[in-house]
Amino acid sequence: MKNTKYIMWLLVMGLSIMGCSDLEEEPVGLLSPDGFFNTPGDIQIAVDGALTHAINEQIWGRKLSVALMLRSDMVNVQSSQARRVEMDMHTITGNNEMVYDPWRRIYLGIAAANNAIEGADDVVAADDLKNPITAQAYFIRAWYYFHLVRLFGDVPYIAETIDGSNSDFYRNISCTPEADVYKNIISDLEYAEQWLDDTTAAPGIPSKGAASAYLALVHLTRATSDARESKDFNTASLYAQKVINSGVYSLDDNFQTLFNASESANSPEMIFTLDYNNVEADDNAYDQVAPMTGVRSDDDDQGWSVAVPVMAVYDSFEDGDYRKRVSFQTEATIGGTTVDYTNFTISGHEHAGNMPYIAKYTRFPGDYARGNKRATSIKYPMMRYAEVLLIAAECAAEAGDNANALKYINEVRARARKGGVSTNGGYVPETVPASAVPADLTGTVTVADVIEERRVELAFEGKRWYDIKRRDLGDQVFGASGYEGLKPDWNAAVDYDTPIPQDEIQSNPNLTN
């Protein structure tokens, strides 16, 4: 039959393209974790993932950095969003976005660090090739847990990657005691200090000095915590000395340079920074600290007027202190008119306020900062040499070593009287002369003196709340005599620890702190 020919053709046509597939998925275009780690470069890729979560909007881009400002006694909320009011008034719940966003993002960073650390095991290379890279992951893991332990106290501590084999265990774990978290932080930093390079291409890449400086701060912080160990101040002091004596770092002559995005990376003072470089990707840069602190309707800032110091904070800075000039914006150009802070409301905006604004992040955000000075190239200082000096001073004061306490604190104060090139409202460069009033403290330097120096030196850098907590200053600074006046909801018994996010407790009821 000639028709069989047709049937044959039809069958061929119908069946030839079907083939027989086993339906295994070949993930074209999917980044699969299996077999990813082959070279030290692959470890670096995973390390960079761990590092970059820190600059996310949910951590230093805005949520944590602003939360730390608001919780301190130096920054008020000029607008009315409930989550920020809670931070300012210490009525924080576990449903606050500024609690659960940083929590989530910090744990993303930790998981990425664990991924790098475990991935390094798959890489066949000499220790001196791969360990300096892996050590960055240890460093940043410690950095993340250090924030967690200071914010929340006991937290779930995870130091391995999670897959089907251990996920059930970790879903149900309890919080790790603060003391154990500190021990793990210290051991990570010790590994980091051992293997990290002495110097790195930028202060945003962890170096040996960064690990030493953080070992100093971690011990200093633990020294007044429930997890304290007897030699903590001493150990903190030793690590601080190590950094001071390394000769790698020194104070920057111009305090303004530290907050100048184009210059700060090269400052000899920067030990560890979070670097933004104006890259907008779905999940990285994009810091918004500048608009959050910027003057409403300022022609240049177009700030949102959210985190704003009260007048008393401005007044608390000495007039001859150059840091006052660098830290505060006292003039703004609004609708073409340059006015001082007593007229910041001429814009008519409902959230405009007549007081000096924070200037550390709005003045020199870098060449590419976009609308409202979002997405800057600021290098936010996390650890700078001045803080190491003040750690050394605090430890000296604790140890009754007044000579060293005076030496270190005065070194910081002296720089703050040097003046330098800065700007104000119209963003016109002007040279501020050195102060005629000498800066040297004399007599006995108390711990309170050092804490006060930290408040001024490190103003609006996310340090003050942690200082209030570790030195139990809450009742004092949130009382009627505090800069912001009485905070009626402040309760030292419960408000030092941040509540663990409510959703997390719901997912795992074993979490309580």
Partner: protein
């Protein structure tokens, strides 16, 4: 009627001539259809003999007859005719199409059945209904026409807006609830143009859809395009011109009242800064709306011989939307060619191609771009009316005294570019071979593809959106491709009084999707629009959702048995087994069975002779179908790429994304259907009733219960734990009220009731979603709760305005509404459900249900001589709407309505339900903004006139029809917003939505492109 008269005259003539009877002679004649077109191939037989012939190509025949012979004329699709021969020499027969017989064949998956033999629940929609008024997408024409079918534009009257179809309610939460579209046998085809569609069948119950297995759970729409018919060349030209306008606008404050309003707010808030009123008075709604228009032209040629039939058509659709700068154009080609190669072999090809171009403006913004500053419609409501379009320096104005800064709506509408070009094609070949009597083999092979280019540009003239970044350009290309090959055998055999039909086949389907994406800021100049992307100084890193490639393969075997006994008892059973690459490792294959029984009661002895009941059939079916629900690679472990800043440069980095999930499986729907078809008075009245129950199990739920501290970038894991139930009742009633020569009146009534119930959620916990724009900074605005319908509004129960003397018992105000512990008069009160005197999360409750009690459509068709009139009402009853627009407009940081401005509480206007202006409530979700969304809408009113053939015959035209129609001419509703047919998907949505949003986020209204009122003028010409 005309033709009927003709025919009668003809018959009378024949009868007269018969008086002069003679012996055997040669009779010749022609056979034509009602439009006078000769019909070839008509069987002409002398009754009770084997003598006969068939008409030739010109419809002619010759036959030896003698007076007294009865000639029978028959052909499928025409009413059989008998003529008794007297002694006439020639005979002209006009064959009348057998409408009932044509309708009786319905397409089902992989075959066709006589309608009377169908055991499943199938709705058919006629061509005339699809083309009653111009629609962008043929699916739109289904609204109110088919029971159990819910059709909605995803964005009001936006040119080119996607249309969503849901059959028998929501069957999923995370997977698509849209039906499978099968065009001329091609699974997953694009909906053809309405004018090219011969018929549309909607398969609703599992016995009808289970043959599509894992793709059948949401119902199947089978579309059959027009084919050529034997006969001479036919040319159809249809053209429509439509003018459109917005059907509604909000009554917003003018500049002076706005300044007054803002100052009142400031007074109430203790703010002593006076509102700095600008010198303008701009009606922003007026600025962005215009009269729109649609033109639609279709040219189709068709015809064919016994051997080859063809149909080819080109359609142009062009629309200027009612929002400035929103346009859409589309050109589509379709051709169908069938060839009967031998007696047994038939081959054919369907070719479809098209191109569309859309220039859009953003509406229904998800709110993520500068506090909703890209959303033209909501901006026009929000923006300060005391501002002009331009500032003194000639730049576009921005608002700078209230709320967050945004660009003005006119600037956003006219300055932004958003162009989408879509090219699509489909080629489908088929061959069918009759191997033996009753045994047929059919194979099809097809490829379809779609290429989309999208270009967007935000110029620096939009100071807030793109000013300081100096222009933002985006270009995206996506490409999707589908290859389908199916082969099946059909065997048909009579066994005694029974008819057995068997079907068995194999299907292979592969889909590929690819996307490339580029975004940059800092272009050299705005004048290049997005073409200047290459000049961008800084490129934005794309995400894995923007640049991707994925593939999916499905292999299936399927079979069906039909057994009809004695034309009374019907049995249908199907099974399909699917294997899919995207199914997780431990569940690669799935089997979906179904069975149905039918009983033609009217064919039983006791009803056979009933005059009243002409048809009565009982149907019952049960079956399981699936929803593929798992995206390619979704069950595999993966890492996410993120970008890091390292020493001043940007480097790619990785972070863990998700764990492997080897146990993930498809969602299964188990459906029972009971149906009853009635025909009364010789089918002058037909009624179909259907009751169904659908249990959907293994619904894939997002487990947000995965702790964040596990550190996965995707903190939502997927689990098959959800379940949902849909129960419903459908009525389809057609009555031919009056039928006489000059006047006919018929009525169609469609009624659908669906009760949805969420029956299982993770740990039985409520599941919350957000239907608000992201800049509202709200989280939970609706809830899924076991035992309730999907998408219940979630918020505070509004309890009116506080008067002096504090909050009445059972109510409370938020902390910010109180001074010294006492609520300030004029502030809003809410029910204090937990009685703690505070308004907290614990006081939130279900405050509204967006699901209708029922929906309906009511069509009346009248014809009078050459005139016809179509009146189509459609409505929805009992659904509630959450008016998110009112939340924004009553919040103080934008313009507002006169309604609120005049009714808000003041010390001298205390008898009101509206709180004072500038109250402490901040964009609260409360029952204050829940409204009844029921409506009755005159969807279409159309008047048509067919020119008498006598008039047009002379100029060579066979048919000429003129019609005028109006759409959405009026709507009866209590809803205070722009339009009760709302579809806003909130923060996660956007115009295209995502599955979860479109399944669960219902009844929210915010910034949608307005629904339009239109007038259309149409001309239909046939040569």
């Amino acid at each position: 009627m005309n033709l009927k008269t003709k025919l009668t005259l003809m018959l009378m003539m024949i009868f007269n001539i018969s008086l002069f009877a003679q012996d055997g002679y040669q009779l010749s004649g022609t056979v034509t259809d009602e439009s006078n077109t000769p019909i070839p191939g008509i069987n002409v037989i002398i009754a009770k003999t084997t003598t006969g012939t068939a008409t030739d190509f010109d419809g002619g025949f010759t036959l030896n007859v003698k007076p007294g012979d009865v000639l029978q004329f028959s052909y499928i699709g025409y009413v059989k005719q008998s003529v008794t021969i007297s002694n006439q020499k020639s005979l002209n027969i006009v064959m009348v199409e057998d409408a009932s017989q044509l309708e009786e064949v319905v397409v089902v998956g992989y075959g066709a059945r006589k309608k009377s033999d169908v055991t499943g629940s199938v709705s058919s929609v006629k061509t005339e209904e699809l083309t009653a008024f111009p629609v962008l997408d043929a699916s739109q024409a289904l609204q109110g026409r088919a029971a159990g079918v819910d059709v909605q534009s995803n964005n009001g009257g936006e040119p080119g807006a996607p249309i969503s179809i849901k059959i028998r309610g929501n069957t999923s939460i995370n997977a698509s609830s849209s039906p499978l579209i099968v065009v001329d046998g091609f699974v997953g085809g694009n909906m053809p143009q309405a004018g090219d569609i011969e018929s549309m069948q909607i398969l609703k119950d599992a016995s009808a859809t289970a043959i599509y297995g894992s793709q059948g759970a949401n119902g199947v729409v089978l579309v059959t395009t027009k084919k050529g018919k034997v006969g001479r060349l036919n040319i159809d030209f249809n053209t429509t011109y439509q003018v459109q306008s917005t059907s509604n606008s909000l009554d917003l404050l003018n500049a002076n009242d706005f300044a007054k309003y803002q100052n009142n707010i400031r007074v109430n808030q203790g703010n002593s800064n006076a509102y700095p009123q600008g010198p303008y008075d701009t009606d922003w709604q007026d600025m962005i709306y215009r009269n729109g228009s649609v033109v639609n032209h279709q040219l189709a040629v068709s015809g064919g011989s016994e051997k080859v039939k063809y149909y080819a058509s080109a359609t142009y659709f062009g629309q200027d939307g009612v929002l400035v700068n929103s346009d859409y154009e589309r050109l589509t080609f379709l051709s169908n060619l069938d060839a009967q190669v031998t007696d047994k072999l038939k081959v054919g090809v369907n070719l479809v191609g098209g191109r569309s171009q859309k220039s859009g403006v953003t509406t229904q913004s998800n709110g993520s771009v500068t506090v909703g500053g890209d959303d033209v419609v909501s901006l026009a409501m929000r923006f300060a009316p005391d501002k002009g379009v331009y500032e003194a320096d000639g730049s576009f104005s921005t608002n700078d005294a209230i709320g967050d800064a945004v660009d003005n709506p006119y600037a956003v509408a006219t300055e932004r570019d958003d162009d989408t070009e879509i090219d699509n094609f489909r080629a489908n070949l088929f061959a069918s071979y009759d191997i033996l009597e009753g045994l047929n083999f059919k194979t099809t092979f097809g490829i379809s593809g779609e290429n989309t280019f999208r270009g967007m540009y935000m110029p620096r003239t939009l100071k807030i959106t793109a000013g300081t970044e100096n222009g933002r350009a985006i270009m995206q290309n996506t490409k999707s491709e589908s290859v389908l090959s199916e082969s099946y055998l059909t065997y048909n055999r009579e066994i005694g009084k029974g008819v057995l039909t068997l079907l068995g086949g194999y299907s292979y389907q592969q889909n590929t999707n690819k996307s490339a994406y580029n975004e940059g800021i800092g272009t050299i100049s705005d004048s290049f629009s997005y073409y200047g992307l290459y000049t961008a100084t800084s490129l934005i890193q794309p995400t894995s959702g923007q640049v991707y490639t994925n593939e999916r393969t499905i292999q299936s075997v399927f079979g069906r048995v039909n057994f009809d006994f004695n034309d009374k008892y019907l049995l249908t059973a199907t099974v399909r087994r699917d294997g899919a690459s995207n199914f997780a490792e431990n569940h690669k294959y799935a089997t979906f069975p179904s069975a149905a029984l039918g009983w033609k009661i009217s064919n039983e002895k006791f009803l056979e002779d009933s005059n009243a009941i002409s048809n009565l059939k009982l149907r019952a079916s049960y079956g399981e179908t699936g929803n593929p629900s798992i995206a390619p690679y979704q069950s595999l472990a993966s890492s996410e790429v993120i970008y890091a800043s390292s020493a001043g440069s940007t480097v790619a980095a990785i972070t863990p994304y998700q764990m492997a999930n080897p146990d993930l499986k498809w969602e299964t729907s188990i459906q029972t259907n009971l149906g009853l078809d009635f025909g009364f008075l010789n089918n002058r009245i037909t009624l179909s009733l259907d009751y169904y129950n659908i249990d959907t199990e293994d619904l894939i739920m997002v487990n947000r219960g995965q702790p964040d501290y596990l550190g996965f970038y995707n903190n939502e894991s997927l689990v098959n734990v959800g379940a949902m139930n849909n129960t419903g009742f459908e009525v389809f009633l057609t009555t031919n009220n009056i039928t006489n020569d000059n006047f006919t009146w018929s009525t169609d009534f469609v009624f659908s009731k669906n009760i949805n119930k969420v029956t299982s959620l993770i740990n039985g916990d409520d599941w919350f979603g957000n239907g608000a724009p992201s800049y509202f900074s709200l989280e939970d605005t609706f809830v899924l709760r076991e035992g309730e319908e999907v998408g219940q509004f979630w918020g505070y129960d509004y309890a009116g305005v506080a008067q002096s003397g504090g909050a009445p018992a059972g109510t409370a105000a938020i902390a910010a509404s109180r001074e010294n512990g006492v609520v300030v008069p004029g502030e809003p009160l809410f029910r204090d459900l937990d009685g703690d005197g505070e308004i907290t999360d614990a006081d939130r409750t279900m405050i509204g249900n967006p699901n209708p009690d029922f929906t309906w459509g009511f069509t009346n068709n009248f014809t009078y001589k050459n005139w016809d009139l179509n009146i189509f009402f459609q409505g929805s009853q009992g659904n509630e709407i959450f008016n998110m627009t009112a939340v924004q407009l009553n919040n103080g940081d934008s313009n507002t309505t006169y309604d609120y401005f005049n009714n808000a509480w003041t010390p001298s206007n205390t008898d009101t339900n509206e709180p004072r202006v500038g109250n402490a409530s901040f964009r609260e979700i409360s029952s204050r903004f829940v409204e009844d969304g029921s409506y009755i809408r005159l969807k279409n009113l159309a008047l048509g006139y067919n020119l008498p053939s006598k008039v047009i015959e002379n100029i060579g035209i066979e048919k000429l029809r003129l019609s005028v129609s109006g759409q959405n001419l009026f709507t009866i509703t209590d809803y205070s917003g722009l339009d009760p047919e709302v579809s806003y998907f909130g923060a996660q949505g956007g115009t295209n939505g995502n599955n979860q949003a479109s399944n669960t986020t219902r009844g929210f209204d915010f910034g949608s492109y307005p629904t339009v009122r239109s007038f259309s003028f149409s001309l239909n010409l046939t040569f």
